[in-house]
């Protein structure tokens, strides 16, 4: 009798465990894959525009792929993550996707207070290709704002959703979208003393994550080329063979990595010029660090700053005419702007504390930077003339801002000490108002993000 009791008990426990697994663990995994970007509810309150995104109508023979749900879900995810939109609960929608071919009944959508409505239709084009048509409706204005039709291979459905998100975002905000983009960054593992760092790349929303290097050599500060074909970064690759720590180039299409060149001293802090023809970087020798520009075709190198100071972290203005950089020539670390030929250096930061890692916004109106003052690190913004300085994020260590296309949203990384003495290092996304901060989920610790330009179709 006892044996049977025990057996039944075991069975109950087993069933319980598997239930827990199915209903608790599994959905969590699925969630983290579908919504890698999580909204930080501590980020402050905003007036988000209420929008309705209906599931799409779809041909019966495509239904099993779930694209009629997945594509609108991904669009909703992008728009909601921008912090500017609020998705209205689909349970309250009074029209079904199939009833939405043609003009919607605007009254039905006004009842739930939708400002905008997005409808869509998916049809099969060829065996492996689909066509996605979406329409954006102004519910109160009772008019069609725009419609677009995209076709591509079925497996590229995420990109279709990102491109559509960009179009909607652009139409509703008047700003350039940034959803059809990627982020390259440094994935970190191992102990503080022996960090393993690998280059990794992912879509802006964390999907399609991929490692580019194997972690055998230390890699830092990757940056995209304007045409997205290349990444430049700083690495200790080959120091056991007598190579100096240097700037490298990585070709995303071929997967090949090459050293930029052998220079006297260490080369680091690389960034492409806006047209991609040149690279600016620092060369360090004999205790002084100066900014140089290297033409990628001719490999000619020109020194732009001189002296015994540390001049580093250079970044071009979007028109390619000026360079902002970080220097300790006045004693403390401050930001300076000079002409692209190195002439007329002018200090632009005058506040208390140290200023570093300036990055010019792709729109040209702001320079983002890292600031260290009173024992804390901040991400800040100022206009190129140094005016209107404002701090938008802070932490034990926050560093390395990078701009999304459009110049309205940034990413950076933050180190947060944990109770067990370890450090958590993660990527974050924030907009220029500083209100809508959220973590970008990565498989491991992550630092040195670089946001790509818009993908090329």
């Amino acid at each position: 009798m006892d044996k049977i009791k025990r057996l039944v008990l075991k069975l109950i426990i087993l069933i319980h465990i598997s239930f827990c697994y199915i209903f608790l663990v599994q959905p969590n995994i699925a969630l983290s894959q579908d919504e890698p970007l999580q909204i930080d509810i501590m980020g402050g309150k905003i007036q988000a525009m209420p929008i309705a995104i209906s599931y799409f109508s779809i041909e019966n023979n495509l239904k099993e792929l779930q694209l009629h749900n997945n594509i609108p879900n991904l669009i909703a995810n992008n728009l909601v993550n921008s912090g500017l939109f609020k998705l209205l609960n689909r349970d309250a929608y009074m029209q079904d996707p199939d009833q939405l071919n043609g003009r919607p009944k605007f009254r039905d959508w006004r009842i739930i207070d939708a400002q905008a409505l997005i409808t869509g239709k998916i049809t099969k084009k060829t065996n492996d290709k689909i066509n996605v048509t979406i329409e954006l409706w102004d519910v109160y204005g009772e008019k069609r704002m725009f419609g677009i039709s995209l076709s591509s291979k079925i497996k590229s459905w995420r990109r279709i959703a990102h491109i559509i998100s960009d179009k909607i975002y652009e139409r509703l905000t008047g700003e350039e979208g940034y959803f059809d983009t990627r982020i390259v960054y440094v994935s970190e593992s191992g102990s503080q003393k022996n960090k393993i760092k690998r280059l990794a790349i992912m879509d802006q929303d964390g999907s399609n994550h991929q490692y580019l290097t194997d972690g055998s050599s230390l890699v830092l500060t990757p940056r995209f080329s304007p045409n997205q074909q290349q990444i430049t970064f700083f690495s200790y690759h080959g120091i056991n063979r007598g190579l100096k720590p240097s700037v490298y180039l990585y070709n995303l299409f071929t997967g090949k990595m090459e050293i930029l060149g052998e220079f006297p001293g260490m080369s680091f802090a690389p960034r492409f010029s806006p047209n991609g023809s040149d690279l600016i970087m620092s060369l360090s020798q004999n205790g002084s660090t100066n900014i140089h520009i290297l033409n990628l075709k001719s490999k000619n190198i020109k020194q732009l700053t001189k002296g015994i100071a540390i001049d580093t972290s250079p970044s071009f203005s979007p028109d390619g005419e000026n360079i902002v950089f970080n220097s300790d020539r006045s004693g403390g670390q401050h930001l300076y702007i000079m002409k692209k030929n190195g002439k007329n250096p002018k200090r632009i930061s005058f506040g208390r504390g140290s200023y570093a890692t300036p990055v010019w916004s792709p729109r040209g109106d702001y320079i983002a930077f890292t600031k260290f003052t009173r024992g804390r690190f901040f991400i800040g913004l100022m206009h190129p003339d140094g005016s209107a300085e404002r701090l938008i994020a802070e932490g034990y260590l926050t560093e390395g801002p990078t701009w999304a296309p459009g110049g309205r949203v940034l990413s950076f990384f933050r180190q947060t000490p944990q109770n067990d003495g370890t450090m958590r290092t993660r990527l974050f996304v924030i907009d220029i108002t500083g209100n809508r901060e959220r973590e970008l989920i990565t498989p491991e610790d992550a630092s040195d993000p670089s946001w790509s330009p818009k993908n090329i179709n």
Binding site: Q192, K193, G265, M266, S282, S284, G287, I310, S354, F372
Partner: protein, 186 residues
């Protein structure tokens, strides 16, 4: 008188014990050797094994020398100097250490070295690479000023990437603002 006698007795007992223990050790040693000699006459193979063990131990010791010995000597001399926050100046203590490194390099004229520069975590990555280079160069230039040839000294900065100690406090930061001298492998 009784006192002296007591001390005398204690000394005698004490020496007796020492003698005994020595004797024990000696006899043990003798036994061992005796055993060996006995075995020597009966079984040559076993002796060879013990001889081999002894030799291989000696060989290991030989292999440990040169670089390892020099590296540990350098560590004893003082392989690193420390810096203040965001500083790269050589203070008196550092000068003293570098003086000793100089003498070490004079004693070992065939050696070349690499000096690595390090920073604490309270700075941005790129600035710290530059600052680490400045620290390592300060160390290098001091050695050059004492008379070491510049082509014996290479410099690498790790910025805040390879801290000496783990931790996120003043003590750790102090330990991690360094220029460390390494002997180059051959």
């Amino acid at each position: 008188m009784l006192k002296y006698f007591k001390i005398f007795i204690i000394i005698i007992i004490f020496t007796y014990f020492i003698a005994c223990s020595n004797k024990d050790q000696e006899s043990l040693l003798l036994d061992a050797e005796g055993g060996n000699t006995k075995q020597n006459s009966t079984s040559t193979e076993e002796i060879e094994i013990t001889d081999n063990t002894a030799q291989s131990i000696q060989m290991d010791e030989v292999e440990l020398t040169v670089e390892e010995k020099l590296s540990s000597e350098l560590i004893e001399v003082g392989d690193r100097i420390f810096f203040g926050y965001d500083e790269s100046t050589i203070n008196d203590e550092s000068a003293d250490t570098l003086q000793k490194q100089y003498q070490f390099l004079i004693r070992n004229p065939d050696l070349s070295i690499t000096i690595t520069g390090h920073c604490d975590e309270r700075g941005t990555r790129e600035y710290n690479i530059a600052l680490g280079e400045r620290r390592a160069s300060a160390s290098k230039n001091y050695l050059i000023s004492l008379g070491i040839s510049s082509n014996r000294i290479a410099v690498i900065s790790y910025g805040k990437e390879k801290p000496t100690v783990e931790g996120h406090n003043d003590w750790a930061w102090t330990q991690n603002r360094t220029a460390v001298t390494f002997i180059n492998g051959k």
